[in-house]
Subunit: 222 residues, 2 copies
């Protein structure tokens, strides 16, 4: 599938803008994704997601995170997903994720992924430094393909590494590879209804989705 | 290390041009690399290369491929590196690689990598389709880091996948990951003096550098 070539200058201009923006401009990418995604490309991604029964169910039921109270989550018992997620958000200075409107499959993909982004950080174990974001992007591309937005996000951050953090080149590629491998190893996370899982221990939630404490492959430095 | 921000518009313009160029514009990337590489970034890359005694020797001796006769190579005994390489070049319609001038460490990196690019295709087993090029780029980033040029090359091809070949997203990411892992598993190829190896069997050359017939990790489709 080839994008209409007349669209490319506008996409490249958004891309160049993202390269110069700071990390964590996830909404900038969501905007770009919204512009690029079409019913046709959404159908391709949905085909992958629906290979998993939970993914298929999620695309029918469209579970939402809705309003959440970060302080209340952080006050949940130690070691629960809710507690860990609440602290993750507060410690990073984040506010609760936006509740984007959903009217169709495209807008559900985007709204869901935006609202669960930091839950995925907590569950996968990737933190929010640059390598952690790139690791999580490897995970996205592994589980949620094909996606123009997630490919563009990795491309943006590899270019950003070249321009701004060249010394981290190997660490960032290693994170990308490890994140991608992890995504193939564990169960799909798309469409998980996280709210009922907040009271569970993070370790149990991780085990439920097939995460283990070992890295997916030995990625020892050379 | 952060590139002078005033350089970024020119780099992004070259990058956008590469995204719209067909695959295999390796010289376009070499030009871009030449523009970006400085004694400082070359020193970072050289530090990685010199961790291997052969790499350190190569940076001192600067072995060159020089003039080669593809027809004569293709006529070498069946199964030799020379024969396989000669056929690879002729079957792809390529002419012998250019002999770029070398005056310093930067220009040696570029000249050497341009002239051995297709030998690496033959030795690593990655062919010249899009996934093969991306696999080889994973290998480059794995063995030759940090490199602005190789990061930009992967970024370019992931963006190109998003814009032109979205259905191949998973195959291309899989190739990138497999190539990166392979690069960590085998011995460094930078600076190999290939000419004396042309009469050897490809299987023996591969074994010498630690390539096996098994993939570096199970990358079964999901």
């Amino acid at each position: 599938m080839r994008i209409d070539p007349t669209q490319i200058p506008a996409i490249m201009s958004k891309f160049a803008h993202l390269v110069e923006a700071p990390y964590g401009d996830f909404r900038g990418i969501a905007d770009m994704a919204q512009e690029i995604m079409t019913p046709e490309t959404t159908a391709l991604l949905a085909r992958t997601v629906m290979q998993d029964p939970m993914g298929a169910k999620a695309l029918r039921d469209r579970p939402r995170l809705g309003e959440i109270d970060l302080q209340a989550l952080a006050a949940m018992p130690e070691g629960t997903l809710g507690c860990r997620y609440g602290h993750h958000m507060i410690d990073n200075g984040y506010s609760a994720p936006p509740i984007l409107p959903v009217s169709d499959a495209e807008s559900y993909f985007i709204a869901h992924l935006v609202e669960v982004h930091d839950i995925w950080h907590v569950v996968t174990g990737w933190n929010t430094d640059k390598a952690g974001e790139i690791g999580l992007q490897g995970f996205y591309n592994s589980q949620l393909h094909p996606s123009q937005g997630f490919l563009a996000l990795v491309a943006k951050n590899l270019l950003k590494t070249a321009l701004e953090d060249l010394e981290q080149a190997d660490d960032h590629m290693r994170a990308l590879v490890a994140g991608w491998l992890l995504g193939k190893k564990v169960k799909p996370l798309f469409g998980v209804d996280w709210k009922p899982l907040f009271p569970e221990k993070l370790a149990d939630v991780r085990a439920r989705f097939g995460f283990s404490d070992e890295p997916p492959i030995s990625l020892a430095s050379r």
